[in-house]
Subunit: 373 residues, 2 copies
Amino acid sequence: MPFSFELIAEDQHSQARAGIIHTPHGDIPTPVFAPVGTQATVKTLTPAELHDLGASLILGNTYHLYLRPGADLIADFGGLHQFMQWDGPILTDSGGFQIFSLTSLREVDEEGVTFRSHIDGSSHRFTPENVIAAQEKLGADIIMAFDECSPPEDYEYNVTALARTHRWAERCLAAHRRSDQALYGIVQGGVFADLRAQSAEFLTALDFPGYAIGGLSVGETKAQMHAMLEVLHPLLPRHKPRYLMGVGSPEDLFECVGRGIDQFDCVLPTRIARNGAVFTAQGRLNLRNARFAADKNPIEPDCRCYTCRHFSLAYLRHLVIAKETLALRLATLHNLHFILEIMRRIRQSILDGTFAAYKSAFLTTYKTVDSRR
Amino acid sequence: MPFSFELIAEDQHSQARAGIIHTPHGDIPTPVFAPVGTQATVKTLTPAELHDLGASLILGNTYHLYLRPGADLIADFGGLHQFMQWDGPILTDSGGFQIFSLTSLREVDEEGVTFRSHIDGSSHRFTPENVIAAQEKLGADIIMAFDECSPPEDYEYNVTALARTHRWAERCLAAHRRSDQALYGIVQGGVFADLRAQSAEFLTALDFPGYAIGGLSVGETKAQMHAMLEVLHPLLPRHKPRYLMGVGSPEDLFECVGRGIDQFDCVLPTRIARNGAVFTAQGRLNLRNARFAADKNPIEPDCRCYTCRHFSLAYLRHLVIAKETLALRLATLHNLHFILEIMRRIRQSILDGTFAAYKSAFLTTYKTVDSRR
């Protein structure tokens, strides 16, 4: 089996875990944060830069790539690794979330979903079977079951959608052929402990090689999200990786690693970079701020990223104000370095038995609103 | 004197010359093409990438940098080299061309020019003295006299403007203090041989360390541009560098090196990249073209740039169509590599005595319209 999860250490004072996911394209030390490369590119960066940043897993999106340039075309190139020239592990999302958040006029039935492309309005249909086929064509190391994403606080909706998501999970498993890909099941159930427990139980019985937790970070409170993770922790198999989809702010990483999560992805570091915002140990900064106009300091004095080793806040602000593309690159490099470095330190702290201390130190300094200076 | 021009070889069959410009920030092998970094960044690229491309001189623009972030601010950072973290030679244009092409409501008088910023409409005044002062603050290795750019085919206008440009050249020389910068005079005179000759004669008498040729590539024909270079060749001092401003298409490089030009700059390679167009030995390609949708070849099979060593035309087209920033970067890298590599080969061919053969071989294959495939 080219895919396996090796559990290396478990924290004494929380549910934090350190491990390694072995894949056909290399090892992924966990907990891991995966930069998002929706359209076969992690926005603004080259594969060489992602390697330099120490990224060990990146995401692609089946919904976007199916629409453009098309899964058959990518298959003809030997898959997504070859097409985008990233030779490390890749995970593709199944497109469930995108269909329910990006498209219009979608119609769900037992068989699948009919929807209109957000690009040109053309009509398409996804079923568990053709989504798995598309992901086999894309050829990622980790692929996702096709699920129905529900408004997190509508109980009746969640009951109905969850039952369908479970039937689709079985169909995904049955449809999946490639032995060099790990297919993860996706636990749904909104903010409802009973539904989440039911989902974990159902999917665990199907024996997926990994479990994703979907439908969180979509409008519910942090407390609700944490409560769901606490419900799931004892129910999910200890020796399988756990992936919290779409979550990855600095504070989320600490809180959710501490609740047993091994895998994260989030557009936050790349998206805020494109708005001129950057992470620091004290919180987010907006580079447009006039107080940086003559500031000779880097974003963070002790940061080892390319941006901080070379450029002043004043120069970065100038690039943002002048709408220069280099601004997007330099902010993206810093933000991904920041998040990936946090993850490396979290992992080391779990191995060292110092996770609680590191979490406490980080969260004491880090403000979730822009407050520095 | 930290600035000097060393003439190394002269072609037997044309006016092509090979040399070295020595500057405080390093040597510039000539003929040289300088990538344009108008706003203290060569669009989309880092200084590290410019070094990897072999760029030996880049441009900044006094007009843009004076307006934003301001010459005083850059001076406070130790100059443009420090501010943008490029440690190689820099040339700043004086802003004359920009004032006459970008700004509105400009009024020229004997003393200087009053104009409105293209950014916010604010009113500003440039004089030979304050433009030199601004360029001393920016601290480039090569700086330019402040000139008046004229419509190339209006004789009366050119007569008046040229006389003023000459008086301004004298004032620039008188105002210039920094001994670590070379101030070039700018030959003007439109498409008129008598005015160009008069300008060369006047400026040569002032003994500038280098001579720029301005006001070409602004609407006149190639034949008119070549005729002006042929007029100037015998009149400009043999042991001073000659800089043809704003010119740098592949075909222009061959034609104008053959007419004695040592220095070029042009936004073409970076600008067309942002529109999805790339250079090849057969001419320009537009990456948007549907014929590239499934093309596994690189832009050029034998090109050694990062883009061509890794990515297919199909992937590049996908990035362009999906409006991904990486498309701009990869096209810019290729186009600058293409132009800088041509320049390296031109220089070597001058040293080898094979310039005519290389020029003929290149221009036989290169189509100035997009015609390949």
